[in-house]
């Protein structure tokens, strides 16, 4: 058994695709029309055959309540590994990305938490 896919609930798939590719820097992998929505996944350009992230519509009311509760408490939905948290923070801030937590050493890792503009917070992390 292998982990090949994880997902994030987004409020708008097209907007999410732009943020996850143009801003975060992922690349589109799969885009399959599926009724009114799409099977839409992105991957890291560093690992094109690695884990895919599914940008999944958040239309179910429970999904929206879940997201709202996590964001209010500042809890990130997903965590991504970067080489240098401060450098990513500087790059993303310059692109207008909002952070709820600037880079901070948290034990063995340095983390920061950003808003994905689709209703979620995301953590970026690097081991110290």
């Amino acid at each position: 058994m292998r982990i090949t896919l994880t997902s994030v609930f987004v409020d708008d798939q097209e907007k999410a695709l732009r943020f996850y590719t143009d801003v975060l820097g992922f690349t589109k992998k799969n885009d399959v029309p599926l009724g009114e929505h799409r099977w839409l996944t992105v991957v890291s350009p560093e690992q094109p055959d690695g884990v895919e992230l599914l940008l999944e519509p958040d239309e179910h009311p429970v999904a929206q309540a879940y997201k709202t509760g996590l964001v209010a408490d500042g809890i990130p939905y997903n965590s991504f590994t970067v080489a240098d948290v401060q450098a990513e923070y500087d790059r993303l801030t310059a692109l207008g990305v909002a952070f709820t937590q600037p880079p901070a050493a948290m034990g063995p890792v340095t983390t920061a938490v950003l808003d994905d503009t689709c209703g979620n917070l995301l953590q970026i992390a690097a081991t110290n």
Binding site: T68, V71, A72, I75, T100, Q101, A105, M106, G107
Partner: protein
């Protein structure tokens, strides 16, 4: 108004104030992370929320909503009650 002396009596609540002094304006998530990784205080989200409630009632912590986020801030003003009650000679 809650009792500032009672609020300060608990070691976890004192650690929460230490954490907010490191960086003011934190989400609950950041606060809990700092408590465990920097102060070795491991506490459930519910427990930290309850401690924050006591600190807020005592006026030592205030919260600010910014859009969908909620940030916690340190307010040391109520600590004046300690030195007003027991004067510190210069």
């Amino acid at each position: 108004m809650g009792d500032v002396f009672r609020a300060l009596a608990d070691p976890t609540r004192r650690a929460i104030l230490d954490v907010l002094q490191e960086r003011d304006g934190q989400t609950l998530f950041e606060l809990i992370n700092r408590l465990v990784t920097r102060h070795g205080v491991s506490c459930s989200r519910q427990a930290v929320s309850q401690h924050l409630g006591v600190l807020e009632a005592a006026g030592l912590v205030c919260t600010r909503r910014e859009g969908r986020y909620k940030f916690h801030h340190l307010d040391t003003t109520p600590l004046k009650a300690v030195t007003e009650r027991w004067r510190i000679d210069p």
